[in-house]
Subunit: 395 residues, 2 copies
């Protein structure tokens, strides 16, 4: 008798993984160039040169234990200080090193934050469809309940009336993700304002803090000069979870942070509970060398222009064919309406043309598919014929 | 209302941390050269050259996404294959890539394994004093109960009669750690044989598997040509938790693995549950570049001879002064009997001479102190006068 829950979680492959594995098998049969795999969100744009330069500089100038030794559990002080300075220069905020807790990436940031906040099995966290499927796993691991607000399929902002109805006395927090995976949509200023007002009003009504968890791995992957604002400016009780996976194309290195600004109610205690939760989950410290690398690369990003080329090519190409595409302002996903009610069937039909697109049912948004465009632009060009054939199938 | 449990865990500094911070303050007052800090187990011997060479080779020969991209959740296949080959060449075993699950270090290995095995809040894990204090935290996080077997203060092996009495129908597993932190002792072959026989007998008696979790971060930090054997050879239901923190002096990089050999009862399902537990705790994959680095450094270690010099100097020096020291065959700790009943008071008295030694109460072994000798040998030489004065205080 081992853990049934963990066994089930381990044996359930995600739809994305299934498609990815299928793509590899199919490539062996029909040739790699004839499979159009839009399933996985693994950044293809290389890490900026500063990553390599920082690594070589560290190897040349620092002692082994300075590079590879344990840092303090909340992260190296100089790194957190540099991060505070960078944020203060970029946004209108006054942060200090001790507002930051370095983590092993976005998933760790979320798991630690949720575990720190959850005080009772009745606690609820609200997620807004379409959402990253692992949110469900992380909330359950923290011992809390998941509440889903259905997607606003008009413009993929937030249906505030439905969110309002979802907030109860048991609500501990709300997770938002903008730029959004899978829709590619960025929340507008109007959305953030309404969200802030609603949460303030409901906190007052229930006489308890409602924590907004802003999951921001795509903060710098934005187009057309859009700027993602500093979310605590709209609502003070905001905890930011960040990862360098996308901005520096380092998804495998597991490096990110949690930011608890002083304006958060109970900030000091939450930070302390975050330290406890990190310890409890087995996170001793964030990888030490990459902590020092992100300090040296502060403010740099991978070349987003390359994703932008893909975005325009795919959005324009598919729109012209008659696909209904959500206009993406950020991240590297195009969210497309399925040509039949079941996006699962639609995705199956797409496979006939070796097109791999992810049905968004697991993202809480049936009837849509996610197309990851962090791919070789040549593959996009070659895929148009297949997208046309798929379109024709439904005429 | 946030998590009280996590808040308490986060606000409770370990004795080791307290001493370490005190040492830094004291150094500012009396000078760094006059403080003898034996508190922390942070390896001082540098990482072997192969680490730097592997890093530079990867940067020169591989594409960014090959180095820094996500690996599969269980770890890069080539890395796990290389690990299996290395183990098969080193020990008498027949392992495959799929017996290994790469992790973010020893703490992650343990947390994931415990979470995968725990099926009910009645499940118990037995730990053997002296033990690494975080075992308590990790077992509680998995939702199981901690059962402690008191230390064998004669020769710091295992009191088999007491272990036998501790095994109940609720026992899920036993954690052992050899070479041991904090005692520095290596379990003898006789101990492993008796342990294997006892666990086989009790498994039969209760008609259920008892899992032995062998925590082996110090496996290669051994002296006098001692070899740490392959523990599953003594007891089949053994899961090995490993970390490269000590063997390659990479504690901050968070890289290790879990090994579930095929001989473990229910091995496939346990491996699947481990995949689920890793996912649930927010471990997406082990840091990708360091996975590839450990592959290139397979079988290499930091220069253990440097620790051996410290070991001999300290053991001989303190023994001559009349301290009762446990003879250490591995790790980099000397375990010394306190000169009064309370090791906490003894450690306080040691501070009068700027000697920082850790009372072992939190390791489940009151009456002893732990001395970490992964330090500059010059500091050891300078410390002898202080150790002598401390000794004289008790005459």
């Amino acid at each position: 008798m081992i853990s049934k829950e963990m066994y089930e979680l381990g044996s359930k492959r995600s739809v994305i993984r299934e498609l990815f594995e299928y793509g590899k098998q199919q490539a062996a049969i029909v040739g790699k160039e004839n499979v159009f795999d839009f399933s996985i969100g693994n950044p293809t744009v290389p890490a900026p040169e500063c990553v390599k330069e920082a690594m070589i500089e560290l190897l040349e100038t620092s002692k082994s234990d300075e590079i590879h030794g344990y840092t303090s559990a909340q992260g190296d002080f100089e790194v957190r200080k540099g991060l505070a300075d960078y944020m203060n220069n970029t946004y209108d905020c006054q942060l200090k090193a001790d507002n930051f807790y370095m983590t092993c990436g976005a998933a760790a940031s979320l798991c630690i934050t949720l575990k720190a906040l959850t005080a009772s099995p009745q606690d609820e966290f609200i997620i807004i469809a379409p959402y990253f499927p692992e949110y469900q796993v992380f909330i359950k691991n923290a011992g809390a309940k998941v509440v889903v607000v259905p997607a606003d399929t008009k413009d993929f902002q937030i249906q505030m009336d439905l969110l309002e109805k979802s907030i109860t006395f048991h609500t501990k927090g709300i997770i938002v993700n903008s730029p959004n995976n899978p829709s590619g949509v960025v929340y507008s200023e109007a959305t953030l304002k309404s969200l802030g007002e609603l949460l303030k009003r409901k906190s007052k009504e229930y006489n308890k803090p409602l924590y907004l968890i802003s999951d921001e791995p795509y903060r710098e992957i934005v187009y057309d000069n859009i700027q993602i604002p500093y979310v605590p400016a709209y609502y003070e009780n905001t905890i930011i979870c960040y990862s360098y996976s996308k901005s520096l194309s380092l998804p495998g290195e597991r490096i990110g942070y949690i930011l608890v600004p002083d304006c958060v109610e109970n900030a000091k205690n939450i930070y302390t509970a975050i330290c406890g939760a990190g310890r409890s989950l087995g996170y001793v410290c964030a990888p030490s060398m990459f902590q020092k690398i992100v300090l040296k690369c502060m403010g740099k990003t991978s070349d987003v222009a390359l994703y932008d080329t893909n975005r325009k090519m795919l959005y324009d190409g598919l729109s012209k064919m008659g696909y209904q595409c959500v206009r993406p302002d950020g991240a590297f996903y195009l969210f497309v309406k399925s040509l039949e009610e079941s996006a699962v069937n639609f995705s199956e039909n797409a496979k006939k043309f070796n097109l791999l697109v992810v049905p968004a049912d697991d993202f809480g948004c049936p009837g849509y598919v996610r197309i990851s465009y962090c791919v070789d632009p040549e593959m996009i060009k070659r895929s148009f014929d297949a997208f046309q054939k798929l379109r024709d199938l439904y005429r």
